[in-house]
């Protein structure tokens, strides 16, 4: 348990999204989950990256301005979006065939907790008090098991200062052992077979600072850098 709330000042949600945008390779197909992941789209306009909207669209464009809103053109967060040259539409079933079939190069997802083994808990907060098997699963479980690479975008701790990066997840799992990279307001951490590798830290934040708000022991990279934006 972390005893102080928000010990360190790190990146904004927008800059977490920017760091992730820099991680994406040109020519890749990417799905962005609800929350911080959605903000990644603001940083890739004009790049050679195709976004998927899981309800059945490839090459999703930027959010629609009020006068461009089409009821039949929304993203998975139910926001009105626009199309781009080369956009295509298909059924939800085809969309998840694509996701499970391994066609998403990267899924960027939010998380409530991530374990040092790469387990992801993101769909259900038990504090809401619903029966354990009931909640908004959405597309997260399929994306977590289907995407070639899973990047987590989240704040490093809860609003109460609790660990979100943990030895074991205590919340209901989305999937086991699927997370490849964790990008938070404080750090960029790679999930490796040997454990969590701390690769980058936010400006003004040390490796020790990050460790103090991370439950499992971090391996500090020999090439530890400040997060490059």
């Amino acid at each position: 348990m972390v005893d102080t709330v928000k010990k360190f000042k790190g990146l904004s949600r927008e800059l977490i999204a920017l760091r992730i945008a820099n991680e994406l390779e040109d020519g890749s197909y990417v799905n962005l989950g609800i929350g911080i992941p959605t903000l990644v789209s603001d940083w890739i306009e004009g790049r050679d990256i195709v976004l998927q909207a899981e309800l059945g669209m490839l090459n999703t464009g930027p959010l629609a301005s009020r006068e461009d809103v089409e009821q039949d053109l929304i993203n998975a967060s139910c926001q009105p979006v626009t199309e781009l040259p080369g956009s295509s539409y298909f059924s939800e079933n085809e969309s998840f065939a694509m996701i499970r079939g391994g066609y998403m190069d990267v899924a960027v997802l939010g998380a409530l907790q991530v374990s040092e083994k790469g387990d992801l808990a993101g769909w259900s907060n038990p504090e809401r008090g619903l029966p354990e098997e009931i909640g908004n699963i959405g597309g997260s479980m399929d994306l977590a098991v289907g995407a070639r690479k899973v990047i987590i975008a989240m704040m490093h701790t809860t609003n109460d200062g609790d660990y979100k990066i943990r030895k074991e997840c205590t919340y209901p799992l989305t999937a086991q052992g699927v997370v490849d990279l964790i990008v938070t307001d404080l750090a960029v951490i790679e999930v490796t077979k040997k454990g969590l590798l701390l690769r980058e830290v936010a400006p003004g934040v040390s490796a020790e600072d990050v460790q103090s708000v991370t439950e499992p022991e971090l391996i500090v990279s020999r090439d530890l850098q400040e997060i490059q934006l």
């Binding site: 039949d72 139910c78 939800e92 989305t174």
Partner: protein, 233 residues
Amino acid sequence: MDKVYPDVDSVIADIPDGASIAIAGFFTAGTPIPLIQGLARQGAKDLTLICMQMGPGNEDIAQLFMNGQVKKAICNYPFYRSASRGANSPVEKAVRNGEVEMEVYPMGTFTEKLRAAGAGIAAFYTPTGVGTVVEGGKEKRKFGNREYLLETALKPDYSFVYAQKGDRMGNLTCHKTARNYNPEMAAAGKITIAAVENLVEIGEIDGDTVHIPGIYVQRVVKVDRPNYFPTID
């Protein structure tokens, strides 16, 4: 073949108490709202609703719960994102109070269960949900180095679908992201009822652009496009 009914009330008149009904649409997009509103008027009870959402972005579904018409919900994203907003929602209340039974599936599994029913596939092995509460008592099996869950087909008595355009034989075309669950739910339903915004004559739809072949559609009704604005928070 002319599958057109004169109005919403006649096209759903025979739905009995206890029926299972799949309702297409991703939150708002491609949802056959006039049919859901008709179902509220028609009054059938003890229904099993098979629908991605159960309220957020879709107040008309929530109304069926408030009317006490729903016995069971099979879904994917039933609640508002916000816990505080959810606490006041009739759907979430009904689930908390045990008045409604609810099964939640991952989105890909949910749609694949319907697809399997339409395609004559009894069951399939998916990697989604392994190691999670979704496992429940399901069979888990290894193929290659990976584990998969056995999920079975889900066949609704009725399916409600929405199309931008439909002809009298039931050939349908959908528009952009309003396609979503419509094709697979149309194939899954024992009786599929299509609400179409534009009813056209047979031959007006280019056969290469049909998204839902008429063989899957037993009834067609012309509706006015409902006006809605999305929100799921």
